[in-house]
Amino acid sequence: MSDAGNASAAPTPALVYADNNATTRVAPEVLEEMLPYLTDYYGNPSSMYGFAERVGHKIVEARERVAALIGAHPDEIVFTSCGTEGDNTALRSALASYPNRTAVVTTKVEHPAVKNAAEKMAKEGRRVTFLPVDRQGGLDLDQVADALTEDVAVISVMWANNETGTVFPIERIGVMAAEAGVMFHTDAVQAAGKVPIDLGATPIDMLTISGHKVHAPKGVGALYVRRGTRFAPFIVGGHQERGRRGGTENVAGIVALGKACELAQLHLAEENERVRLLRDRLERDLLARIPGTLINGNPENRLPNTTSLSFEYVEGESILLMLNEHGICASSGSACTSGSLEPSHVLRAMGVPFTAAHGSIRFSLGVYNSEPEIDLIIEKLPPIIARLRELSPYWTPETAAACLRASADAS
């Protein structure tokens, strides 16, 4: 897509990838580690010869590396094909394991892997509670407590939101779930590698991670299942993963995920220091240069790499297409980019006004981003917003003055 959108013969600009919550590049170290398992060491780890044993040992190592990142025991890790499989497995497993409890509790801002699975359960006749969030995307813990009734089998709350980066009080929700005897699952796909996770000290029954969000390739993930947790497999087949997930192992993917988790642990400090500073500077400078800009989410309690900004009176897809002209990759919660006609369910659940929801842009950075890339975004975005506002029938002298006043008050 790097040359798309270039109607003129301008040279293709260098890529500035600022969409790491969507997916990440495979780290060179990860690729190097996994490649031999696609070429030389192709044995099936279940086979009974030395050629396959080597593969089996490598999976053991990968399991240890994944467990180390999240403070778990290796036998608590079940390899999956993706985050969506992990989320679906967790919800279905909890319901199958506790037949006397039939209800589900989750939030209105989950990733579709949880949200749509829960909506399907509601259609099947289950009682599903979708907890609302406040203007900053946070939960009311009293409402969480009220929702944990006797008939609830599982509560699923994401560790951090993919669109706004808002981090949820996972430890407190875990304690509340444990007191109510309710299984607690968290989708930690966005949190892994960005915030410290220690399952030895946090009461979580099941936790999902995804490979391609942490610089492993697409097509691999892991589900943590705490020792002693009742479990029912989602994919039934061979005895792989100790009977918890059938199907011949995606060996190269698993090896990659192991290496990626090892790197993520090494990079955790950098994510929270250097990447956070890049994010903060990007956000601060854009807010200062573009009037009528709002932050979506909780600025005090966010992933270090994510900023979701709304530019009033312009539409997100237009912004992305113009950023694309400069090789800048980001995301939008606008209706047009999603293929649906309504802005993102997360921004709607937060009550972001329509003047702002359609013009939301998410930048999500990573360890491969550099200062000059941030400079480029800060240079290119303000004239794009100004240009689109010139085109917008809602950008009048009155709205412009109101935006300037609001910006002056905020700074």
Binding site: M1, A4, G5, N6, A7, S8, L95, A96, P99, N100, T102, A103, A122, K123, E124, G125, R126, R127, D151, Y313, V314, E315, E317, S318, L321, M322, E325, S334, A335, C336, T337, G339, S340, L341, E342, P343, F354, T355, H358, E390, L391, S392, P393, Y394
Partner: protein, 276 residues
């Protein structure tokens, strides 16, 4: 990423005729901030009654901006009678086509044009007539009928692509289907589609039993429950919930939203399910 033609990209990056005509003869406005796109069209006529100048302002995505640019380019130099004949498909064709999900951008262009011409003539906007069917995007039955007729639409999804109607809460989907049936009914004699065969009582009971066994029991059993068919009285299906289902707080919801919904879908739409 959308598959936009080079012409769409060009008219998005370098739109023609942006702004407002000074002292316009006609002004058309469609869309809203809530809907996610909006278009304000102004034009001025010359002494011979031709459109001397047309300008636009658009809030919206790439194809909305490109469609508005295309419209102003096409209408300039035309008489109002000529401009009136521009269809949404003409706008899309001018751009070398639009992704099907984006056809509503071309419809917005045509609507703004009609609105502006009506304004010049001192008439009511044609879009104020009709009854709102889609409340999320404020689309009327007349607009949907017209889109179905002019663009030969067959499904709710197509109607959503062209008018946005039904793209929000989805509550109006049945009404949209009804409109599609009515419009298409004008063209085809009703005999073309055979009416569903009426079930005898015996057939109905068998089908209900079969559906309970195949579709409903397995998922109830997964939760430790079960269901027993007690009687079928006309369209009333009387059942008893068993196991963990009996006395379950969500039993009523299970019966209505699941058991009844599946039976209506798979047996007959007029069935109602009751517990003894």
């Amino acid at each position: 990423m959308w598959d936009y033609t080079d012409k769409v990209k060009d008219r998005f990056l370098n739109p023609r005729n942006v702004g407002e005509v000074e002292d316009p003869d006609g002004v058309g406005e469609v869309g809203s901030l809530a809907c996610g796109d909006a278009l304000r069209l102004t034009f001025k006529l010359d002494d011979e009654g031709r459109i001397a100048e047309a300008r636009f302002k658009t809030f919206g995505c790439g194809s909305a901006i490109a469609s508005a640019s295309a419209l102003t380019e096409m209408m300039t130099g035309m008489t109002l009678e000529e401009a009136e004949t521009i269809t949404n498909q003409d706008i899309a064709d001018y751009l070398g086509g639009l992704p099907k999900e984006k056809m509503h951008c071309s419809v917005m262009g045509r609507e703004a044009l009609e609105d502006a011409i009506a304004h010049y003539r001192g008439e009511e906007s044609p879009r104020t007539e009709g009854t709102v069917v889609c409340e999320c995007f404020g689309v009327t039955d007349l607009e949907i009928e017209r889109a179905v007729r002019e663009n030969d639409l067959h499904t709710v999804e197509e109607v959503t692509n062209y008018t946005k109607a039904g793209g929000g809460c989805e509550r109006c989907h049945e009404q949209i289907e009804e409109i599609i049936r009515e419009v298409r009914g004008e063209e085809q004699p009703p005999a073309a589609a055979p009416a569903p065969k009426r079930l005898t009582n015996i057939e109905k009971i068998r089908l209900i039993e079969d559906t309970l066994e195949r579709e409903i029991r397995p998922s109830l059993r997964m939760d430790g429950g079960d269901i027993e068919l007690i009687d079928v009285d006309g369209n009333r299906v009387i059942v008893r919930l068993q196991g963990t289902c009996s006395g379950c707080k969500s039993a009523e919801i299970t019966l209505r939203d699941y058991v009844q919904a599946r039976l209506r879908e798979l047996v007959a739409p007029e069935l109602s399910v009751e517990e003894v």
